[in-house]
Symmetry: C2
Subunit: 340 residues, 2 copies
């Protein structure tokens, strides 16, 4: 039998409401009573029933997240762990937990979310991937329920989001290559329906334009966030007559595929071609040569998202875009291009 507030009250010779007040540090309560009640709580091993509390308080102190689908979002997977750690670390600090769920067989994300929201199991929701015209964002927006998206929405301006400045990041990367002498720069992009793909591509294009460098459609290849895509992209690009001297790749795993293909074909990196990619996952320092990559601060994104969402729940802030700084990690996959 669990010990309730009534048991404590009876044992301490006070009323349940007094015990309740002690629990929540109510200001107007005598030190003696407080001490007495606290002692009894310890003795009895009392812990408040959070369900009951949540029911009357109308809030669960819980954040919700929908587990991304396996195949579709492999991308997210590779740093899922670090991301979750960021969320939970911050949430726990403020007394929130994280509830994870997923759409069952036929039931999609939208239903899973509705269930959480209307079922009052969570006070806010974190959306992991932002696709173009994301229906989930629209749903949450309509329900006027607190949520934060990782990435950004192409439809709604005034929402809570945590993102990298992917356009800027891609611009920086492009300029970095330009600064070490490259003039022909290719781009291996990710799935077009993801906003992150779109933004990075934009940054690349803009940087080339600004530098008045040549841009060719065949230098841009789109693929999945898979090693194979890198391999394919590589072979398509290397077979060009006038091929790039440097390649920007949208993700480390893809870059690994590129690297692998290059090695197989007998090319040397960075002597024959320079490679730089995004996300800086574990693997990027393990490749041969170690990959230059853009650190995007996954843990911090999780941490910040959590923080922003909780603030939104508690203070009602519901429109803010937080940008997590990125940073180019220089390793050995890029080399200066000497004039010739």
């Amino acid at each position: 039998m669990p010990v309730t507030i009534k048991d404590v009250a009876k044992e301490a010779g006070v009323s349940p409401s007094t015990v309740s007040r002690v629990i929540s540090n109510h200001p107007r309560i005598s030190p003696q009573t407080t001490a007495k009640v606290k002692k009894i709580m310890d003795e009895l091993g009392y812990h408040p029933n959070m369900l009951a509390k949540s029911l009357v308080m109308q809030k669960s102190k819980t954040l919700g997240i929908i587990l991304p689908r396996p195949a579709e979002e492999l991308f997210v997977n590779l740093f899922f762990s670090e991301f979750i750690r960021g969320i939970v670390a911050q949430a726990s600090r403020i007394g929130y937990d994280l509830l994870m769920t997923s759409g069952v067989t036929q039931m999609d994300e939208a239903d899973a979310i509705t269930k959480l929201v209307k079922g009052k199991k969570v006070d806010g929701i974190i959306i992991l991937t932002s696709r173009k015209k994301d229906p989930v964002i629209k749903l949450l927006q309509e329900m006027k329920f607190p949520f934060v998206v990782i990435g950004r929405s192409d439809e709604f301006e005034n929402i809570l989001s945590v993102d990298n400045d992917n356009i800027k990041a891609a611009t920086d990367v492009t300029n970095y290559l330009i600064s070490i002498g490259h003039k022909r720069i290719g781009f291996v992009s990710g799935p077009a329906h993801l906003i992150v793909s779109q933004d990075r591509l934009t940054g690349y294009t803009e940087a080339l334009k600004a530098a008045q460098l040549e841009t060719k459609p065949e230098w841009i290849v789109e693929g999945e966030f898979l090693q194979e895509s890198g391999y394919l992209a590589m072979s398509s690009i290397m077979s060009l007559e006038n091929r790039p001297s440097a390649l920007i790749v949208t993700d480390d795993l893809v870059a690994y595929g590129v690297l692998r293909g290059l090695t197989e074909l007998g090319y040397k990196v960075p002597e024959d071609i320079s490679i730089i990619s995004f996300n800086n996952i574990t693997i990027s320092e393990l490749t041969n040569p170690p990959l230059n990559s853009v650190e995007i601060g996954i843990y911090q994104m999780g941490y910040t998202a959590s923080q922003l969402l909780i603030r939104s729940i508690e203070d009602g802030v519901d429109s803010k875009r937080e940008l997590i700084p990125h940073r180019i990690i220089t390793r050995q996959s890029c080399a200066p291009l000497l004039e010739k």
Copy 2:
């Protein structure tokens, strides 16, 4: 304003209990009423408040998991994502969600667990890492609260657990090397306080003994689940006079460190030395050469753990050890050793 069971009742002209019965498919309820109530529920967009339901039912339909500490359990990290996916997939199917929490700064795992359990936020708990004399297992055992451990307990026999047969797996690996001609086999182990380390080491030792092969203390090196450990282990082992012709490594990441060091020193794998490791994480097929590794079925472990725990919650089964089969993945890091 959320729509409650009362609103539905009033609108449908029935009592709240009737609505409740419709929700839970009570057998004795007329088709007409059912239809009418369901219609109203749809119209009003009704969803049951799970907190209220949980409060009266005394169960939350939620599983709990404590996020492993960063540094200590890097090991778990690498397949965290796949593991969680397994848990959530199965849990969702049966209508359970997963609640994640972590010890705040000073507050340790035990407190976090007590809070979840006594606070009634979860119906059962999944323990991710099993250390020797794990205090958390003891705590849960004492509270008589449903839980399942991934791995096994060295103290308690009669608990719920999902594990690989790590002793057998290590035996299999050792025998595999023996079968292709190796007689001098080394072992790079993990942290001694983890049961998985202990079991794999045991399996290795037993297999050698059974084959009446030589075993030398200096062929066994213990380290962390880190690349660096592999590097260190490698240099210690390769500097021996009579060194092994094959190495069993406790984890792919560590094996990567070994591989790297070997390459740096000019050794060739598998010509100069064969390497095989455990866990079969993404990285193991990306190395050069691709690593032979033991697939341990992480997703399935999560899935099974979830299943076992829910069964325990609902039917009271509380003592069962489920073994997930392992399987050696043959790639290019092992070569037969010819007699000489």
